[in-house]
């Protein structure tokens, strides 16, 4: 089994290295089949491991290589596979394999396929290192590695300024999160003397009352650690405040959006908090922060999604919002529910993105929904697939989202943790928004009269089997993932299934969540129906309504359309000042002050003395050499004659 685990992680790396080094001689066809094949093998092996870990109840630790040892600090390259990791393995590798295959169709006209598939495999490898790590630093390696892959793929169309800007933004904003993550690692090491999960989790309880000196104050140690780690999670998972990079990340090719910016990388933050549940459980203040940030993100992103016109951006905000759900589930200690939603979300969100990608492909790279409409005539199967994805996302009974989202909202309702009431309300309201924007997307894109140029509708790009196969498999997942596995993740079998991989102290909120009754339980479903009806009315029955609303509430509309003006605010607060200060320090600081008072000042002061010397072009050079030799000679003489001061 150890070999199997190593294969799962390293096969994608092999794929990346092969096409990275020899992609051009090996050719486009080989590169894409080779990388896709290797990731597919990884995916199949992942299901084997999942079966073994989830049902045969094994756990594995695999040592690969020692990494760093310095003083009392040491850590290794090593894998740890428990249920939580096994779930992530399945999600990452399955979606990655499908996206690899889908890309063969989607990127068919792309001239640099080895580069694209190499990046995809690199991403997969980094993500696997992240989820299999047995210590914080290797996790950080994967964490930054997926950031690198994300940066490269967002900027894949590197001739576009917007793609470059988005890539840098994604990397730098994530670095802000990583800044917190890194400080969290240091704090963890200082407090517990280790960065290995096994030690940290075993010892966490011993430090539950410990104080920690941080930035001039004394704070509850575990809260400091958890909050710092959560800052990292906020960056990677695009939570409110550090979310601004995610919508821009849609500059990348659509398969990338599906894999990295919907199904896998952005869920790394959720994974981190769930992994650290044994520590978070002793830091209720940190959990409350997680709840509030998650709930705020859920409602914020959903509200922005209501008015966006770019098909990918709608789904991007939807992702951001769904991640918010996962976080407040974590915040109320419903870790199983959060990971359950992560699992189901991977299927239906990847489905929606790949479906959107197919639409974009069919429509000759058009992404603006205002220029679509009637696409069902040219892409009926995609319409069918997107409808399934939408049903799953909005929580239609017995579809995947129905189980995972409802259990989260019920958990928030049942919980007594700080912020859970707020989370419940926001969760329900966001469910209304989710349903509205999702159906709005379907109606604007697929139904009604076409608003696209007649030329496009007459000659749509065909979509082949590379499109249908991944879509179909994901759609099957979106239908059955919930009904088949809810017992494992959040139901009767959950203790057997998790076996301590996620961990709670304050009672079992999931148990109470199952006993929520009445309106509280049905509220999300009611909201789902309401959202559908509203969207139906506004985009099918009476199409004048949206414009009227936008006119009546123009302030609110602009506020939402401009994403609450976060980008403008950050530009004003950080980006512009950084450049202005940089320029100021350079011109005023270095050139005027330091050089002015220093070398140049001295220069002008001694100008009349040095006038002659300067005539000789390299005068200073010889001057200096001369001074030094004289000085040395004098010193040597002195040493020889004085006998070194004996």
């Amino acid at each position: 089994m150890d070999t199997l685990i190593k294969l799962i992680v390293f096969l994608p790396l092999l794929g990346f290295l092969t096409v990275g080094l020899f992609g051009r001689p090996l050719g486009n066809g080989f590169s894409q089949v080779w990388t896709s094949g290797l990731v597919s093998i990884s995916a199949i092996l992942s299901w084997v491991v999942f079966w073994d870990v989830g049902f045969a109840h094994n756990t594995y630790g695999v040592h690969v290589l020692s990494w760093v040892s310095s003083g009392d600090l040491s850590f290794n390259w090593a894998f740890q596979v428990d249920t939580l990791t096994a779930v992530m393995l399945v999600v990452v590798n399955s979606v990655s394999a499908l996206v690899h295959w889908y890309s063969m169709g989607y990127m068919a006209d792309d001239p640099s396929k080895p580069r694209f598939f190499g990046y995809l495999s690199l991403f997969t490898f980094a993500m696997l290192m992240l989820v299999t790590s047995d210590n914080l630093v290797q996790m950080f390696f994967g964490w930054e590695g997926v950031g690198l892959a994300s940066y490269l793929l967002i900027g894949y169309y590197y001739h576009k300024p917007s793609a470059n800007a988005a890539a840098i933004k994604a990397f730098v904003v994530n670095r802000v999160g990583d800044f917190g993550f890194a400080l969290g690692i240091y704090a963890c090491f200082l407090l517990m003397g280790s960065v290995e999960f096994s030690t940290i989790f075993a010892d966490a309880a011993n430090y539950k009352d410990a104080q920690f000196h941080f930035l001039g104050g004394d704070y509850h140690a575990l809260t400091v650690i958890c909050v710092l780690l959560f800052v990292g999670a906020m960056g990677k998972s695009a939570q409110l405040g550090l979310h601004t990079w995610l919508p821009d990340a849609m500059e990348g090719p659509t398969p990338v959006s599906a894999l990295i910016h919907a199904a896998t990388m952005v869920t790394a933050g959720v994974f981190l908090v769930a992994r650290f549940s044994p520590v978070f459980e002793f830091a209720p203040d940190a959990l409350a922060l997680v709840t509030i940030v998650g709930a705020a993100t859920a409602i914020f992103a959903a509200s922005v999604g209501l008015v966006q016109n770019d098909i990918k951006r709608v789904i991007a905000y939807s992702t951001c919002s769904q991640l918010g759900y996962m976080f407040f589930a974590l915040g109320v200690s419903a870790y199983g529910a959060a990971i359950f939603h992560l699992f189901t979300h991977a299927f239906f969100k990847a489905l929606l993105f790949l479906g959107a990608g197919t639409v974009i492909h069919v429509m000759h790279h058009e992404q603006d929904m205002r220029k679509m409409g009637g696409v069902r005539h040219v892409a009926p199967y995609t319409f069918f697939m997107m409808t399934i994805g939408t049903l799953a996302l909005t929580g239609f009974p017995f579809m995947a989202g129905f189980y995972s989202k409802d259990i989260i909202i019920e958990a928030a309702y049942a919980s007594h943790a700080y912020g859970s009431g707020f989370a419940y309300l926001m969760g329900v309201l966001a469910a209304l928004f989710t349903s509205f924007y999702s159906w709005r997307l379907v109606f604007m894109t697929f139904l009604g009269e076409s608003r696209a140029p007649a030329e496009v509708m007459k000659h749509p790009h065909g979509a082949n089997g590379f499109f249908w196969m991944p879509l179909t498999l994901l759609a099957i997942g979106a239908v059955v993932a919930g009904v088949l596995t809810h017992g494992l993740f959040t139901g009767e079998e959950r203790f057997e299934f998790w076996r301590g991989a996620v961990w709670t102290t304050q009672g079992d909120v999931l148990d109470e969540a199952h006993h929520v009754h009445g309106l509280a339980k049905w509220a999300p479903t009611v909201m789902m129906v309401l959202g559908f009806l509203l969207a139906y009315y506004m985009y099918i029955v009476n199409k004048a309504v949206p414009q009227q609303l936008a006119k009546t509430w123009d302030g609110l509309y602009a506020f939402l359309l401009n994403k609450w003006y976060f980008d403008e605010l950050y530009n004003f607060l950080f980006v512009k000042p950084a450049f202005a200060i940089g320029r100021f320090l350079w011109r005023r600081g270095d050139e005027q002050t330091i050089d002015g008072l220093g070398p140049n000042g001295v220069s002008s002061a001694v100008a009349f003395v040095a006038a002659r010397v300067r005539k000789v072009q390299t005068g200073y050079l010889y001057h200096y050499a001369f001074v030094m030799i004289i000085g040395l000679a004098a010193a040597v003489t002195w040493l020889m004659t004085s006998g070194g001061g004996h």
């Binding site: 290589l65 020692s66 990494w67 760093v68 310095s70 003083g71 009392d72 630093v137 950080f140 390696f141 590695g145 690198l148 940066y151 900027g155 590197y158 001739h159 300024p161 470059n164 890539a167 840098i168 990397f171 730098v172 670095r175 800044f179 890194a182 400080l183 240091y186 704090a187 200082l190 407090l191 410990a210 941080f214 930035l215 001039g216 950084a578 450049f579 940089g582 350079w586 600081g589 270095d590 330091i594 070398p599 220069s603 390299t618 200073y620 050079l621 200096y624 050499a625 001074v627 030094m628 000085g631 040395l632 010193a635 040597v636 040493l639 020889m640 006998g643 070194g644 001061g645 004996h646």
Partner: protein, 503 residues
């Protein structure tokens, strides 16, 4: 002990000199043929020296904290020919040996005038650099330390860019101040302690008062070499004017002399003053990291940008050294090694396009990913190493330094870590402007991708960066014992405090 091991350091010092002498004797009617011969002699000499440094690394006893490969002979008066290496210096010598053949290769086609003098200058410089890291007589050290600047001046002054006089003038003013103060301090120490031997001086108890002033005098010299803010402004100008090979050695090895000096002199000889004045170093380092990172963000010249980023990275080194714990110091040494390779590689990358287009102006480039694919990959790779991406050498050093800093004071780690965010911003902004974007300038379109010779230069650099990032223990193991000894001899008290503080 074999003959080789007994005289290894002397061999390392003499091989470059012998190479230089051979070059001096190269005569040929055909100038092109003569130049070619000179290049080959220089290359073979530096490769031989590199093998010697590798041999030293392989036979270095990592469990022994004392000086090894020691050679001692009477010289002039009380000055001894006294050499030896310990864990702090051994890898810096290997770094020097590693970079030299690369520099010779990088100058292969770029230097066409006075090739002979150029190569001689570099070989003498190599001897002096190895001398700095191996000298155990303080006067000998001083000679090597200051002497190394003369070939560097010549390299900038003769083979440099248009404004080379201003650059060497600045270099001169800054360095003069530092060396005069250091010379005075050295003479005072010799008088007081009655010995020139560095190991003996390390054990000599200077009075706290004396330590204070001596520390400041040495600090003046080392801070300029590092360079630390605010005495850093010579570096961007020197880099911009220096030929590529000069920049590589300047960033790769000469900047490390300051850090080495702190570890060899300031810490072990003036431990009280070190603890007393650490705040000064921290303050200047933090300013350096934030200040120069912001300045790097707005640079229009590639070399200036990388030079400013060097100042920021050296800020991490000085922080690591003065937190006085194992993680910090080992991290600082590791960062020096890593920075030597990564910034050297970045300057080489600038050299590649400079050789083709003869400008370092960032806005003159753009879209190189289209026509220079291997170059683009290398550029992104070393940028990531500079940013400190885990898996590359840049990460390990930074990580250890920040952990060390955190042990000392969380504010220190917090402020220093902002450099990690800013570093990503300025490096990626550079990558965007040079590598990505549209390839629309006619002369840039005609630029060819890396030649076989250039690939040969970058391949080993990439391999080492990954090796240091994935299995850094190869490089940390030789360091452990000496660093542990340094801390145990002089700073065991604060180390104990750290342990208590952590709980």
């Amino acid at each position: 002990m074999t003959f080789l091991e007994e005289h290894l350091l002397s061999l390392m010092l003499s091989v470059p000199v012998i190479g230089a002498l051979i070059i001096l004797m190269v005569r040929h009617k055909d100038q092109a043929q003569a130049n070619s011969n000179v290049r080959w002699v220089a290359l073979l000499t530096t490769i031989l020296t590199f093998f010697l440094t590798l041999y030293m690394w392989m036979h270095f006893d990592a469990s022994n904290a004392d000086f090894q490969f020691v050679e001692k002979a009477k010289w002039v008066g009380d000055i001894q020919y006294y050499l030896g290496v310990d864990g702090i210096s051994v890898l810096l010598i290997v770094l020097t040996g590693f970079l030299m053949p690369i520099v010779v290769l990088a100058s292969w086609d770029a230097i066409t005038v006075r090739v002979k003098e150029y190569m001689i200058a570099f070989l003498v410089l190599e001897m002096l650099m190895i001398g700095v890291f191996s000298a155990l007589d303080i006067f000998l050290f001083y000679v090597f330390f200051e002497g190394g600047l003369i070939p560097m001046y010549l390299i900038i002054g003769v083979w440099g860019g248009a404004n080379r006089i201003y650059a060497s003038y600045k270099f001169f003013l800054y360095t003069l101040l530092g060396s005069v103060l250091m010379l005075v301090a050295v003479l005072y120490m010799i008088m007081t302690a009655g010995t020139l031997e560095i190991p003996a001086l390390m054990d000599f108890p200077f009075s706290p008062e004396a330590q204070y002033w001596l520390w400041l005098a040495f600090f003046a010299s080392f801070a300029v070499k590092m360079p630390m803010w605010p005495v850093h402004t010579w570096l961007p100008d020197a880099h911009v004017q220096a030929p590529t090979g000069g920049s590589v050695i300047l960033a790769g090895v000469l900047l490390k002399m300051g850090g080495y000096g702190f570890l060899r002199f300031s810490l072990p000889m003036f431990p009280d003053a070190t603890q007393e004045l650490a705040w000064l170093v921290f303050g200047l380092s933090i300013v350096a990291i934030i200040y120069t990172s912001l300045v790097a963000l707005v640079q229009n010249d590639m070399k200036k940008l990388i030079a400013y980023s060097s100042v920021a990275h050296m800020g991490f080194v000085t922080i690591g050294i003065f937190v006085l714990n194992v993680n910090g110091i080992e991290g600082a040494i590791f960062t020096m090694l890593s920075h030597g390779i990564v910034s050297g590689a970045l300057f080489l990358l600038v050299g590649v396009v400079y050789d083709r287009l003869h400008t370092k102006e960032i806005s003159r480039y753009g879209g190189l990913a289209t026509n220079m694919k291997v170059y683009a990959v290398s550029f992104v790779f070393f940028s990531m190493a500079s940013i400190g991406l885990p898996g590359t050498s840049g990460f390990v050093g930074e990580f250890l330094v920040l952990i060390g800093a955190y042990k000392a004071d969380s504010w220190l780690a917090f402020l220093a870590a902002t450099g990690v965010v800013l570093g990503a911003a300025y490096m990626l902004y550079l990558v965007w402007r040079v590598i990505f974007g549209v390839l629309d300038k006619e002369d840039v379109k005609t630029m060819k991708d890396l030649s076989a010779r250039e690939k040969l230069i970058f391949a080993p650099l990439i391999a080492v960066v990954l090796w240091m990032g994935i299995y850094p223990n190869s490089f940390l193991e030789p360091i452990h014992a000496s660093v542990a000894k340094l801390i145990a001899d002089d700073f065991s008290a604060p180390a104990a405090q750290d342990a208590a503080h952590g709980r």
